[in-house]
C-alpha cells in the first residue's frame, strides 16, 4: 500500500489541477491549474521509473556493488521523457502568458467570462 503512495499523490495533484482549471475565473489562475496538471504528468513519469534500493543512473563515482550485474539503477529513459516534458511545459507557459498579456492590453480585463467576443 505504501508503495502506491506516489501514484495516489499524482491523482490528487491532477484532480487539483483540473478542478482549478474548471472553477476559477481569473485566466492566470486557470493557467496555474494547467501547470499543476503538467506537474502531475511529470511526477507520474518519474514515479514509474523507481526501483527499490537503487541509485541514480550515473556511472561517475558510483558505488561498486550497485554496478555489477544485476545493476540496481533507476530507469533512465523515463527521466529523459520527464525532462522533455518539462521543456515543453516551459515553452507552453511562455506562450500562454504572452497571450494573456496581449489580451489584457486589448480587452482590459482578466475575467474569463468577459473574454468572449468569439461566440456562436
Amino acid at each position: 500500500m505504501l508503495a502506491n503512495f506516489p501514484f495516489i499523490a499524482v491523482g490528487i495533484i491532477a484532480i487539483a489541477g483540473i478542478v482549478t482549471m474548471l472553477l476559477r475565473v481569473n485566466i492566470i489562475r486557470i493557467i496555474m491549474g494547467l501547470t499543476l496538471l503538467e506537474a502531475a504528468g511529470n511526477f507520474l513519469l518519474v514515479a514509474i521509473g523507481y526501483r527499490h534500493n537503487s541509485i541514480a543512473p550515473i556511472f561517475t563515482s558510483a558505488p561498486e556493488e550497485k554496478i555489477r550485474p544485476p545493476a540496481e539503477m533507476v530507469l533512465p529513459t523515463v527521466q529523459a521523457m520527464t525532462l522533455t516534458s518539462i521543456v515543453i511545459g516551459v515553452a507552453t507557459l511562455a506562450l500562454l502568458l504572452s497571450f494573456v498579456m496581449a489580451i489584457y492590453r486589448d480587452y482590459g480585463t482578466l475575467d474569463c467570462r468577459s473574454i468572449r467576443k468569439l461566440q456562436g
Binding site: A56, I58, V90, S98
Partner: protein, 151 residues
C-alpha cells in the same frame, strides 16, 4: 531596487553564470546537460533584470545578442547532426566518439571518476542547447518586461 540589492546581484552574477556553464559542460558525466544549465544561466540573467531598472539593463543585455545566441545554438545542433550523414551513418550518430580528435577519449567501463574529454558529440550538443536555451529564456523575460509599464 536599492543599492544593496543591486550590489549583491552584481556580486552573484558571475558565480551563477559559471555554475550554469559547469552544469552544461558536465552533462555527459553527472546530472545536468543543455536545458538544465541554460535555465540556470537564464536565472542569473533574470536576477540582473530584477535588480536593475529595465532601461538600464536593456542597454547591457540586448535583445539582438540573445536572438543571435538562440539562432546560433539551434543551427549548430542541426549542422552537427547532419554531419553524420556524410559517411552514410544516421542523423545524429555519434561520429566523434572514440575518434581521437575532439572529445574522443575512450570511456572506461564501470564506475569511474569521469573524464570530461570523452563522449563525442554529446558535450558539443549540450553546449549548443545551453546557448540556445539561455538565449530563448532570457528573450522571454526581456519581452515580458518590455510589456510592463513603469510604475
Amino acid at each position: 531596487m536599492s543599492k544593496i540589492v543591486r550590489s549583491a546581484a552584481d556580486l552573484l552574477y558571475p558565480f551563477i553564470l559559471t555554475f550554469g556553464f559547469y552544469i552544461v559542460v558536465h552533462g555527459h558525466l553527472t546530472a545536468g546537460g543543455g536545458f538544465q544549465g541554460g535555465a540556470v544561466i537564464a536565472t542569473g540573467i533574470a536576477l540582473m533584470f530584477g535588480a536593475n531598472r529595465y532601461k538600464v539593463i536593456s542597454q547591457q543585455i540586448r535583445g539582438k545578442m540573445l536572438r543571435t545566441c538562440e539562432a546560433v545554438g539551434l543551427i549548430m545542433f542541426i549542422i552537427i547532426g547532419l554531419c553524420a550523414l556524410i559517411d552514410g551513418k544516421s542523423f545524429l550518430y555519434n561520429w566523434l566518439a572514440n575518434a581521437d580528435w575532439l572529445f574522443g577519449h575512450p570511456v572506461t567501463y564501470g564506475s569511474n571518476t569521469g573524464d570530461l574529454y570523452t563522449a563525442g558529440i554529446i558535450p558539443i550538443l549540450n553546449i549548443a542547447i545551453g546557448i540556445e536555451v539561455l538565449g530563448g529564456l532570457s528573450l522571454i523575460i526581456l519581452y515580458m518586461l518590455s510589456g510592463v509599464s513603469e510604475e
